[in-house]
Symmetry: C2
Subunit: 615 residues, 2 copies
């Protein structure tokens, strides 16, 4: 009862199925709901470019602007590519659907695996990056990043289990606060530079410990490419826009991409021109904001805006992951539980699974964004590539107007993201990309074996092609295992006698020399007239083994070729924790009976007679 | 199957009950089996006296010899007291038995709680101290003390689950190795001092940060008193000696006490006269051995002997705790499971419980002996005091020859241990003794409520004074909840029809608009001739709630005043992990039905028809 109350308080009361209809969003709200993942990537991508280049000192850091421009170019290509996806899949073109439909099931499942991994990493990385933004402002929090990330994770999980019905509206605040503060900072920074002139990188850069090699630059590009994660979100969610959906979606996507480009290039430009150099317990964007505004309220506001937008970004995984998992579970490649709608019309199990996996990653990688990043980009770019490749095939198959041009554009997308994927996989391999490269085939194999299991079960259970025949009149035989003589046993015997008059009781003598007294008691209460009592010695003090052997013997002796049913007297304590005070023999016996396989698929009915204790 | 093989490999195959007879031990073996706990205490008690005094610099450390002498005096008193216990309780006089018999149940249970806590702490402290002896020799291990202690704990647990039949024999090696090396070290040290003269404490002692106050000296005494834990072991185990048991036991106890005294005073004397001062990652006994023998093989041998004797000391908890717990469980003050003899004739559950609790303490206190010590002495001295008080009453009641002298001697014992207990409780209160002082009343309350629960159950279940009557001929009604149409359902319907012809099937419509198809299928396979199908809508998608409501409605409508039985079709996957792929609706339903209470104590039979999948 208490649990139910706490549950209702935290999660809310159940919602009826008929409430399941999605509210449409206007462009302002849609941008807030769908873009945080993409926009917030700026926070960690910037940091990664800095960390990648700083080992090569000033000479290395001079590359950050060039790398940023390449990534911005990729952003433009992706935007073009995905606006074609929006046109082709107005009902939502997730990578799984596009790849599966055009490239076949295997490619679809690879994209699905990449996507799921990506959602988990987005949740983990966004939270740790958000905590790092906060801990940059309050260094005393720096050692507690893991636990802070986990606390935020729990809060987001609970909020999502409640169901975020008014997602777009709530998210307007952090997203537009983030946009306002960052755009403001970029403009202010540009003015500062215009007046004071740029600071040479050599002023602050540390001694180089590495030379600027092509590999170093490519590896840094690979880390920075995480800026592009989340770009595809709008193309997956076309149906939430007001009609005409595809047009509104495309417009919103272009706006989002433009904002991403401005934020990314703007902040990278400022950090390079101002030669920003963060300490070891601070992010580069925090150092930039502190350099421009000092450690006052404006700086604090920027850090809080960063934290909030990253929390909202993590939250996008909580809408995406359970939905994709449910789609895959619907196709029977994932456990059925993932497609169950919970009390609050959300995919409870999917949310819990995501939360567990993200928490696991946060713990394993010590709450450190930089440790997680090498795992991140692989999944995202694999999904990008497969989805664009799928689009190419889509246009070739359709052959409608301008199909060559469209296929060419998506081909460019596929080619450039594929190339980036290769760079990422190779340059980040030893740092952690190998984990994802190893995981994807494992997950895909898992998908197929789950599907095979469900198919097999369907075959074994089906009645199709059979005509079930029901025999009648056969007499049942019943065995009642007894460990004592009490009301629970009397109730069990009573029930057994209502079914049949062939009732045997069996006493397993786990303590030597106790059967004599038992037999005497049995007769004293007249139970020998209800059921024949058999005594089975148990020299090794075990209860279940000798009982199962006894049942086998009995069934062999019987001439009906059937298994005796078993009636188990079980007393149920008044409080669940009273169970700690009892042996749980009944449960262990039921498990043993249930999992025991008999020749020729015969079944033993297990009849439980609960006897409720009052106190 | 695999599990059973691993289990047999690690734990061994089951032993028959008739093997349950204890081998008698001669004095040499008995000393090895019963004294490690007491002897090994030297290792940590020494360390605690040093840590207690070092804050007061050389002036403080000058007190160590005097404190050691007081503790040795207490040891003499205890030895005298307990040799009287041996005489009076030749069948074994544990604190619980002596206190309960002479001071009443409450005092007995207080002693029992103290004893159990003490066993847990002995296991935890001995292991961490053993690991510290090892890590003193190999400083690289110092940071891994927690995990090393846990590894040792797991090994000891497994060894004890196997059953240590030849305890005395195996333990001869570490115990006598420890005695030989330590006695040798003391003699060698005495010679060194005789030749070179003592080193003034001022040579090595650090600056005092605290003054020598009476409180500081008392607190150090309280820590050092842990040297006496384990003294009572022999008096608990009189029956394992060769006859005449009491005499052999007393002789062994005197030898043990003499050895303890020599070891304790000898090592303390050496450390004081040689002004030994360990580093922060070393024990004082390690520093002593290194000072005398250099870091060569003799030093290593001493450290290993210390580690081994401490492991053996921890092991004594694994014989003591489960036995005491079984005795208390036999009196129904602890859960019944604790008195079950496992496959290998050991109290499996008691061993696991001890292992869990000791592991918990090790983890919580970071594997640091010094953190654990303040909790330790309280329990031991409380048990001492109660047991000696019990002996006083025992003699007064008996009034046999010399009863006044005997009562007086035990009275001295009770008084001095009681005084020590007071000193320990007060001076160590804030450092951790409060935990034990709080725990003991909680545990005792727990004992009483467990007993009350068992008494209540006995009253509710008993057939005494009743004459069970068995009605016959009543017709049963059966409900079969169905979620699909398959062979498992067919098997369940078949079984239901063998019991009665009043069978209803019920379909809970958790997904809207699925019942139409379901009904059609039902008729197609001719199932409507076997059972009436009822459809129940479920607007909140829940399965169990609507089903329970349906059953209530049905029972209210029926005129027999009974509850319908329920037949649950359940398919059992071929591999246990396949369960992850299924909803477990059957399990959740069974739990809900089992824990549901009905008016007037009526019972609903729960019939499970397992359907085994082949692959």
């Amino acid at each position: 009862m208490i649990w139910r109350h706490i549950r209702e308080l935290v999660i809310g009361s159940p919602l009826p199925s008929e409430d399941l209809s999605e509210a449409r969003l206007d462009k302002v709200r849609a941008l807030a709901a769908l873009s945080p993942d993409a926009l917030a990537s700026v926070a960690y991508a910037n940091q990664e470019i800095f960390l990648g280049l700083v080992v090569a000192g000033a000479a290395g850091m001079a590359y950050s602007w060039r790398i940023a421009c390449v990534i911005a170019g990729l952003l433009a290509v992706l935007t073009l590519s995905y606006s074609q996806t929006i046109r082709a899949y107005p009902s939502g073109g997730g990578s799984y659907i596009v790849a599966r439909e055009n490239l076949g099931t295997l490619m679809g499942l690879i994209a699905a695996a990449a996507l799921l991994i990506d959602y988990v990493l987005n949740a983990a990385v966004s939270l740790t990056a958000g905590v790092e933004a906060l801990a940059s402002a309050f260094p005393v929090l720096w050692p507690y990043r893991t636990i802070l990330s986990l606390v935020l994770l729990v809060i987001i999980t609970l909020v999502n289990l409640r169901g975020l019905r008014e997602a777009g509206t709530i998210m307007i605040v952090p997203v537009y606060l983030f946009l306002a503060t960052y755009l403001g900072m970029i403009i202010y920074g540009a003015v500062v530079i215009a007046i004071q002139g740029p600071v040479p990188l050599e002023t602050n850069a540390p001694q180089a410990v590495d030379a600027v090699t092509a590999f170093l630059v490519l590896r840094t590009f690979a880390s920075g490419a995480t800026a592009l994660t989340g770009v595809e979100a709008i193309s997956n969610a076309v149906p939430v826009f007001n009609p005409p959906e595809p047009r509104h979606a495309r417009q919103t996507m272009v706006i989002m991409a433009a904002l991403m480009g401005v934020l990314f290039l703007g902040t990278i430009g400022l950090t390079q021109l101002l030669a920003i150099m963060p300490g070891s317990e601070e992010t580069i964007l925090s150092a930039l904001a502190r350099r421009l505004f000092g450690p006052g309220p404006i700086y604090l506001l920027i850090q809080i805006a960063t934290l909030l937008v990253l929390i909202v970004a993590a939250n996008t995984s909580f809408t995406g992951f359970p939905r994709v998992a449910a789609v895959i579970a619907h196709d029977e490649f994932l456990p059925r539980q993932l497609k169950l709608l919970g009390d609050r019309l959300v995919f409870t199990n999917g949310i819990l699974l995501l939360s567990f996996l993200a928490g696991f990653l946060i713990v394993i990688f010590g709450g450190d964004t930089h440790n997680l990043i090498p795992l991140f980009a692989v999944g995202a770019f694999l999904a990008f590539t497969l989805s664009q490749m799928g689009m190419v095939i889509h246009w070739i198959r359709q052959r409608n107007s301008h199909w060559r041009l469209k296929a060419f554009l998506n081909g460019i997308g596929a080619l450039s993201t594929g190339l980036a994927l290769l760079v990422i996989a190779v340059s980040k391999f030893v740092h952690g990309a190998w984990i994802v490269i190893l995981l994807i085939p494992l997950i895909v194999t898992g998908f197929y074996s789950i599907r095979a299991h469900y198919d097999e079960i369907g075959r074994e259970l089906t009645l199709v092609g059979t005509k079930p025949v029901f025999e009648s009149g056969r007499k049942l035989r019943i065995v009642v295992p007894v460990t004592g003589i009490h009301r629970g046993v009397a109730a069990a015997l009573q029930y057994a006698r209502l079914i049949t008059d062939d009732v045997k009781a069996v006493y397993i003598e786990t303590e030597p020399d106790t059967s004599g007294d038992f037999k005497k008691n049995w007769q004293q209460y007249g139970l020998d007239k209800v059921a024949v009592l058999d005594i089975v010695p148990s020299p090794y003090r075990s209860f279940i083994g000798p009982l199962l052997d006894y049942l086998d013997r009995l069934d062999n002796e019987a001439d009906d070729g059937q298994l005796a049913s078993i009636v188990i007297p079980e007393f149920i304590p008044a409080k669940w924790w009273h169970n700690l005070l009892h042996n749980q023999t009944a449960w262990r016996l039921k498990l043993a009976l249930m999992y025991r396989r008999h020749r020729m698929g015969k079944t033993r009915a297990i009849i439980d007679i609960p006897f409720h204790l009052k106190r």
